[in-house]
């Protein structure tokens, strides 16, 4: 029997994000594939940022990674994790399972010493929590905003003063006004953290992150040593959890948003003018990243091609 210690990148206590991982573990343990997994919380074995590296270096056989944390060394992982104006959940799943995404993901991961699968998905995050409402794009100039990743690059271009404070600092800094806004996650997560209490203007949409993915990564040597039946079981367990995770996370947001409103928070949407500005700056960022990294370019173009392919149908078929 394979017995895997599996570190995860986010706490399994977080509803809609981490909790489904427990289901995944139960599924694979029950799958009669001679694989038993045991989940370890962030930091119990390795810090959340190091999960992919730890798997590659065979410190642990497998891990549940937020793959985008590795964007410093593998830039294209930022796209796989969910990127500004990138694929939404339905498009992403389509790209991954039908549009060649799985092969591209596999190729990128193999190149970096691991094998892996899409293994968990959530919908769009929030655009952020702001201390003051935003009236125009001019309000972005000098606004002190805590965020990270490609979205941070986009906002820097719009004159925002972006900072990467750790979570422990974000809350008191936002409360006392050392920063003006912070990007969080889904309402269900942010409301638990209490971000809505210190910055009561919640903005949608999460243009910077239309989807959030989790990936199961397995050390290449460990993967190669599995039987076909075991490989099949691993892959199937991930397919199952991806759909389940998305539906759970979609379904629990309403309650969290209601709670935020009851606590005095207000929800807004970014104006069309703002969205256009984000979109324009995003195009610049994507072009720049594509020029720097061949894998990034290949995956970005593949994603865009899939988006174009399905958009005709998706746009026309939607009733609203």
């Amino acid at each position: 029997t394979e017995r895997w210690k599996v570190p995860v990148s986010f706490p399994t206590g977080l509803p809609g994000i981490g909790e489904p991982l427990k289901d995944w573990a139960a599924t694979i343990n029950a799958a009669d594939a001679d694989i038993q997994v045991k989940l370890f919380e962030p930091g119990e074995i390795v810090p959340p940022f190091a999960v992919l590296d730890a798997v590659r270096d065979n410190k642990v056989p497998a891990g549940m990674a937020v793959i985008g944390y590795s964007a410093g060394s593998i830039p294209a992982t930022a796209l796989l994790f969910g990127a500004p104006f990138g694929l939404g959940p339905r498009e992403y799943a389509g790209w991954y399972y039908q549009g060649g995404g799985e092969a591209l993901t596999q190729a990128l991961l193999n190149k970096n010493g691991v094998h892996g699968f899409l293994c968990g998905m959530i919908g769009a995050e929030m655009g952020g929590w702001f201390r003051e409402p935003l009236n125009s794009i001019e309000d972005f100039k000098g606004l002190r905003f805590r965020t990270a990743g490609l979205g941070a690059d986009v906002l820097t271009r719009l004159g925002m003063s972006v900072t990467t404070l750790p979570l422990g600092e974000t809350f008191p800094a936002l409360e006392r006004g050392a920063i003006d806004a912070a990007e969080g996650s889904l309402p269900s997560v942010d409301v638990i953290l209490g971000l809505h209490k210190v910055a009561k203007h919640g903005y949608f949409p999460g243009w910077h992150q239309p989807v959030g993915t989790g990936h199961l990564v397995i050390n290449q040597g460990v993967w190669d040593g599995l039987s076909d039946a075991q490989k099949e079981a691993v892959e199937t367990s991930c397919e199952a959890i991806t759909m389940k995770n998305l539906t759970i996370s979609d379904s629990i947001q309403a309650a969290s948003m209601a709670k935020a409103k009851a606590d005095g928070a207000e929800f807004h949407v970014f104006s069309d003018e703002m969205i256009e500005a984000f979109r324009k700056a995003t195009a610049e960022v994507m072009a720049e990243q594509s020029a720097k990294d061949a894998d990034f370019k290949e995956i970005y173009e593949s994603m865009e091609a899939h988006k174009k392919l399905v958009s005709g149908y998706l746009d026309m078929s939607s009733a609203d």
Partner: protein, 457 residues
């Protein structure tokens, strides 16, 4: 209560016992922790290679697993929040070496010297204010030790009393927000950081107040513990004005730290740098800023930072391997076999946390215990914020309970050489009891923790 132990359980237990025994050899605590991680990895690797004892368990470890030490150490070295540690140490040493600390405490002595325990009260007040600016125990304990202990000893305080005061007061920072411990606990329990910060406020301040009351009562009851100073001249009104005037700059200094957080100028971590710079300015203002002082302070900061981080590294290696051997599961097993009445569950969790606190640090206890008991406690209908605060008070106690009391280690490193380890151990005993009293009060009156979160924001 009955549990079946397997081979890895015995390994985890013996690793634990080996540590408790071996630190008394006088070999550095940090390297004992780190070394045991290596030795027990080697034992596990050998057992795995030559026996089938570790087959069919999750708790066989290989060198690859143990090499996660690298990533764990690196997480410490790239930590933004821990930057505050050397900064507060720098600030404390600068106040000390420039003579400002002594002057500040002497002024307190002139004001409060006629009151028995007055100096200790002054230290406690400074400690409470400091606690509101940092949650980094190593930093505040070092700072308060440098500031308070020499002056209290000069005034004839009993060593153990002086030392106990700084160790206990120095750990308030982990309870009074902002605090990295509360942030992690909120994360693990999936509750609001804000609620937890608010919830900890009253119990934290209450504990500080309990310390002050205890200091005043105890120094009155036991003569010789904290004598009033005989050579203090009677105060004239003019003196009072002059003393208060001379205390303005240091008080401004402390409020530069708090104020920069409160007015949104700096984050709590950056406030440590603000405090450090203001200290340098204050020394310059008083004509005490020389190159020698700056050099001495920097070197001592290097040394103090070195021994503190060695313990952090050692502890992270130890806990990784302890966890790898199934030590966590063992502790969870003990919890599972706990009694069933709801209050009894809470009490036994707290009791276990208290006992674990003698041997493990807060981070490990949080990682082990919280994810396990959180859902159970919520299921019993208790408020998780209330429980988290009780848990936090218990963890705060762990900092000052020997043999593994980080606050005691940090104080020991910068203590005058005349103070011995037994002095430190004796000194903290009453404060452990005071913390248990605070724990009992919050247990009995949940609104101490729940009232503020209910009205805040």
């Amino acid at each position: 209560m009955h549990m079946d132990l397997i081979i890895t359980d015995y390994m985890a237990i013996s690793m634990f016992l080996a540590f408790i025994v071996l630190i008394f050899t006088g070999y550095p605590v940090a390297w004992t922790l780190a070394g045991l991680a290596i030795v027990y990895s080697a034992i596990s690797v050998a057992l795995g290679a030559y026996t089938d004892l570790l087959d069919n368990t999750f708790y066989a470890i290989d060198w690859g697993y143990t090499s996660s030490i690298i990533d764990r150490n690196w997480a410490v070295m790239e930590s933004w929040v821990l930057v505050a540690l050397p900064m507060f140490v720098f600030m404390g040493l600068f106040l000390d070496k420039s003579g400002i600390a002594r002057e500040l405490m002497e002024n307190f002595a002139r004001l409060l010297g006629r009151v028995r325990g007055g100096l200790a009260v002054a230290v406690a007040i400074i400690g409470i204010v400091l606690a509101a600016s940092t949650g980094i125990i190593g930093a505040s304990v070092v700072l308060l030790t440098l500031l308070g202990v020499p002056v209290m000893l000069d005034a004839g305080y009993k060593k153990s009393f002086a030392v106990g005061t700084v160790c206990a007061v120095g750990t308030l920072g982990i309870l009074i927000p902002p605090s990295i411990m509360l942030v992690l606990m909120a994360d693990r329990l999936a509750i609001s950081v804000g609620d937890l910060f608010m919830g900890a406020m009253i119990p934290g301040l209450m504990l500080g107040l309990i310390y002050i009351v205890f200091i005043l009562i105890w120094s009155r009851l036991r003569s010789g513990v904290a004598p009033s100073m005989h050579d203090v001249a009677p105060l004239e009104l003019g003196d009072v004005v002059q003393i208060l005037g001379s205390m303005v700059p240091p008080v401004l200094l402390i409020f530069s730290v708090l104020g920069s957080i409160f007015f949104g100028i700096a984050t709590p971590t950056e406030a440590s740098g603000v405090g450090a710079l203001c200290t340098v300015f204050l020394a310059a203002f008083k004509g005490r800023l020389t190159f020698t002082v700056l050099k001495d302070v920097s070197m001592e900061t290097m040394k103090t930072t070195g021994f503190i981080f060695a313990i952090v590294f050692g502890a992270t290696a130890f806990s990784l391997v302890f966890r790898g051997l199934g030590g966590d599961e063992l502790i969870k097993g003990i919890l599972h076999s706990a009694p069933v009445s709801p209050n009894a569950v809470v009490i036994s969790v707290l009791l276990l946390t208290f006992v674990l606190g003698f041997f493990l640090d807060w981070l490990e206890i949080t990682l082990i215990v919280l994810p396990l008991v959180g859902p159970a406690i919520a299921g019993l209908g208790f408020d998780l914020v209330w429980f988290a605060i009780l848990f936090a008070i218990c963890l705060q106690t762990s900092f000052i309970t020997p043999p593994v009391g980080p606050a005691l280690f940090y104080a020991q490193g910068v203590m005058p050489t005349s103070v011995s380890l037994p002095d430190i151990y004796r000194g903290i005993i009453p404060f452990v009891f005071l913390q248990l009293i605070a724990l009992a009060l919050v247990f009995k009156f949940p609104s101490l923790a729940l009232w503020l979160p209910s009205i805040a924001y």
